[in-house]
């Protein structure tokens, strides 16, 4: 008899020791995880001198002026809109394109689909520097060195991980349901939207989160594609704000608050999306 079983026998319903232990462990790990972020938070209310001399100390006054100045320096409202727009559209493109192709690849187990899968997988391994120049030259020649072009590029770069995830978790969608729907007279798009995708809700949310997050924080690609345009993303705004502060050194009193406010939207979205990552969502659907 294991320890857990023994405990369960002795304390059938009330608070199980194992659960308490798990909570304690989780809290400890959470504290370790949050420490660097707390560091970021604390230093977003301090001036340059205070940050450089004593980064760990709590600020004497929690001065919000630094947050305000930062927001102004990076034109928060407009760059937030730009970044959100780019991220949302890119993620949408990635989700649609990758789920469609993964679905078809899993349902058509042929040499072609295997080769295609390997190609998508291999694409994840290509270092960005090796495609950077030809890619941008090509897009520039096609007059796509701008925001729409950037979205297409994200669509392409995000494919690999998205296809990989959908391909892997497509197993939780049984063919039988699709067959049943087809027999009922559903069109392919209806099957996709109402049968396949709902069962892959958890995976879709994972894809949205993983892709959305790196696009939100991405710096190099926007820099090369739209860097010299007046419209900028959050990361680009931060870069320019830092740039104009001096040839050397870092304006930490602007950087820390800027980073903090940049990641807050993503955290909020992430919290909201948690509802979709539910246990047994796919399992219960299979039962029917």
């Amino acid at each position: 008899m294991t320890f857990a079983n023994a405990i369960h026998r002795l304390h059938p319903k009330k608070i199980r020791v194992s659960t308490v232990l798990i909570y304690l462990l989780l809290i400890a790990i959470a504290a370790y995880t949050l420490f660097p972020l707390a560091f970021l938070f604390v230093n977003s209310f301090k001036g340059q001198a205070a940050i450089v001399s004593s980064p760990l100390k709590l600020p004497d006054i929690w001065d919000v002026a630094y947050l305000e100045n930062s927001m102004k320096a990076i034109h928060f409202m407009s760059s937030l809109g730009v970044t959100a727009g780019i991220t949302l559209i890119s993620v949408f493109v990635q989700v649609v394109a990758s789920s469609l192709v993964a679905w078809m690849m899993v349902r058509n187990k042929s040499k072609w689909s295997f080769a295609l899968f390997m190609a998508f997988t291999a694409a994840m391994l290509i270092p960005f520097q090796s495609v950077m120049y030809p890619l941008i030259s090509m897009f520039d020649a096609m007059k796509l060195k701008n925001i729409p072009g950037l979205i297409i590029m994200y669509g392409g770069f995000g494919l690999s991980i998205s296809v990989f995830l959908y391909h892997g978790f497509m197993k939780s969608v049984p063919r039988s349901i699709e067959e049943a729907a087809l027999i009922d007279g559903a069109s392919v798009f209806q099957i996709y939207l109402y049968v396949v995708m709902p069962l892959l809700k958890s995976t879709t949310v994972t894809v949205i989160i993983l892709n959305g997050m790196w696009i939100w924080n991405d710096y190099l690609l926007p820099f090369l594609v739209i860097g010299n345009e007046p419209v900028k993303t959050l990361t680009l705004e931060l870069y320019y704000a830092k740039l104009t502060s001096g040839q050397y050194g870092n304006p930490w009193e602007m950087i820390f608050p800027a980073v903090l406010i940049s990641i807050i939207p993503i955290i909020l979205v992430f919290l909201l999306l948690q509802k979709y990552i539910m246990k047994g969502v796919t399992a219960s659907a299979v039962k029917e």
């Binding site: 340059q48 520039d140 020649a141 096609m142 729409p148 072009g149 010299n228 007046p230």
Partner: protein
């Protein structure tokens, strides 16, 4: 689910609107947006093939890699545009790998910049090989030619010493920055001015004695008497308010290899090579002549890093000496601004950084030369003596405006006219001096007065011709800070005591690496 769906759709619409509204101001908008994902590549390719090459909506394009003047340059361009009715595109960014990638991308595109930045002789190699850098003697605009001819040959952007490819942005200089108020605190308010004058002309022996004396003073208040340029000065018996804050003599940035691997090393190189072009064409025999100067460099570095200031007390060589967080550029500036150190080896670019953390100190700052124990045998440059080196600070051009030889003749003409306006007219110079806070390369020290104390100090050195160049820029790429500086950081700055053998090893390593890297 439906409710979340509606909210999500609404949010999507709002942000898409915002994003699209932002994108609409982008002049290069493609016709397809959301459907571009599906049929973008094929359709756009055919469209581009049949459409004529589009002329940009601007007259010419400036690509600026001296990013800290971004706003000021934009203001200057706006003023010039208002005057001439031209539409000029400016893009500014800092130097670094991303900068070269961005510039390369632009050079590969249809919209090449007509004015772009080239930092030094090493970068020049690429742009001349590619045929992008215009030989300025071939410029078409006559006013521009006059401007070019007026540039002294010591400030040329050149690989052979004769052909000039760039107009300097400005000049910068570095040395030991000292607060005259601190000197007043240490030696008495009435003798501070003389102390400063005599430090500038002091020999290395006197300098070393000064450092040791101040070090002892900080530690236990021993108020010794020091000799500077033959005159004796006594440290104040009672520590003044500023002097009490001192924890060390020098504020250092141990983790920043460029401070000792580029700038400090440069002073030694200046003894043998007059400028970067001479350094770039150095023969192995000439390189061997660097042994003496490099030994002097090692000794001077040893002195400096032995008397370094820390946040709470003296900073001793060891692992803490090279921490990026406590021994970085910002920390160095902070220590100096907090009066914890007497000297900080930096350049006039640091003015803004100091001002941000302690605005009270900036008006009383000035430069003192970087001293090293050179002997007459070490000096190879004609006209230079140990005395002249020890009185001089390196003044150099950090970046140049270059003209793109591959741009159309019309664009080149307009770009040249702009540079003439910027560098010769009063209006243009106002932007350079006040908004960009630069020292104009063609400044007349007798006439120009800068409000920036460090800039003014450099002008004074320029007026008495007590300057040397940045010959290190002619050394092989990455040799200085990234190789020699790196070696020193990893092996010596963590070592508490240096011996004679260490000096030898540093000097030998530097020379050997130069030979090696120049050959490959």
């Amino acid at each position: 689910m439906r409710r979340y769906g509606k909210i999500a759709a609404f949010l999507l619409a709002v942000t898409m609107l915002a994003g699209t509204a932002g994108a609409c101001t982008n002049s290069n908008k493609a016709s397809n947006q959301t459907t571009a994902a599906q049929n973008g590549t094929a359709a756009e390719a055919t469209a581009a093939a049949t459409a004529p090459v589009a002329e940009g909506e601007y007259d010419f394009y400036i690509f600026n890699t001296k990013g800290e003047n971004a706003d000021a340059l934009q203001a200057a361009v706006d003023a010039y545009s208002a005057k001439t009715g031209q539409n000029i595109k400016v893009f500014s960014l800092g130097s670094g790998t991303n900068a070269s990638d961005a510039l390369n991308t632009e050079m590969n595109s249809e919209n090449m910049p007509t004015i772009f930045s080239i930092m030094n002789i090493q970068e020049l190699k690429t742009w001349t090989e590619g045929g992008f850098a215009l030989d300025l003697s071939k410029a078409t605009n006559s006013d521009f030619k006059a401007l070019v001819d007026a540039i002294p040959s010591s400030l040329y952007l050149t690989n052979d010493g004769a052909t000039n490819y760039g107009i300097p942005y400005n000049v910068e200089g570095y040395g030991y920055i000292v607060d005259t108020e601190m000197l007043a605190d240490l030696f008495g308010a009435d003798t501070a001015a003389n102390v400063l004058k005599d430090i500038k002309t002091a020999t290395y022996t006197e300098w070393e004695a000064l450092i040791v004396a101040i070090g002892a003073y900080i530690k236990d208040g021993t108020a010794a008497t020091v000799t500077l340029s033959g005159n004796s000065y006594a440290l104040a018996a009672q520590k003044g308010e500023l002097a009490s804050k001192l924890t060390g003599v020098f504020s250092t940035a141990g983790s920043q290899t460029w401070t000792y691997g580029d700038h400090m090393l440069n002073v030694a190189i200046d003894c043998v090579f007059a400028n970067s072009a001479a350094a770039a064409s150095a023969t192995p025999e000439q390189l061997d002549l660097l042994k003496g100067p490099f030994l002097a460099y090692a000794k001077a570095l040893d002195l400096k890093t032995t008397y370094a200031a820390g946040a709470d007390g003296a900073l001793v060589r060891g692992p803490e000496f090279i921490n990026t967080t406590t021994a970085g550029y910002d920390a160095e500036v902070q220590l100096f601004a907090d009066h914890k150190a007497v000297f900080m080896k930096q350049g006039n670019w640091v003015y803004g950084n100091i001002q941000k953390v302690n605005a009270d100190i900036v008006d009383t700052l000035t430069f003192v030369p970087v001293k090293m124990p050179f002997t007459d045998a070490d000096i190879q440059v004609p006209g230079m003596t140990v005395d002249s080196v020890s009185r001089s600070i390196p003044v150099f051009v950090p970046n140049y405006y270059a003209i793109n030889a591959k741009s159309s003749a019309e664009e080149q003409e307009k770009a040249e006219a702009f540079l003439v306006w910027l560098n010769t007219t009063e209006e243009g110079q106002k932007f350079v001096i006040e908004d960009m806070a630069f020292i104009p390369y063609n400044a007349d020290p007798a006439v120009t007065k800068l409000s920036n104390s460090l800039g003014q100090s450099i002008l004074e050195y320029m007026s008495t011709k007590d300057t040397v160049t940045n010959a290190y820029a002619g050394a092989p790429t990455n040799w200085s800070g990234l190789t020699v500086g790196q070696k020193i950081m990893e092996n010596y700055l963590t070592k508490e005591a240096w011996e004679e053998q260490d000096y030898q090893d540093i000097a030998d390593y530097a020379i050997a690496q130069w030979k090696d890297m120049a050959a490959s």
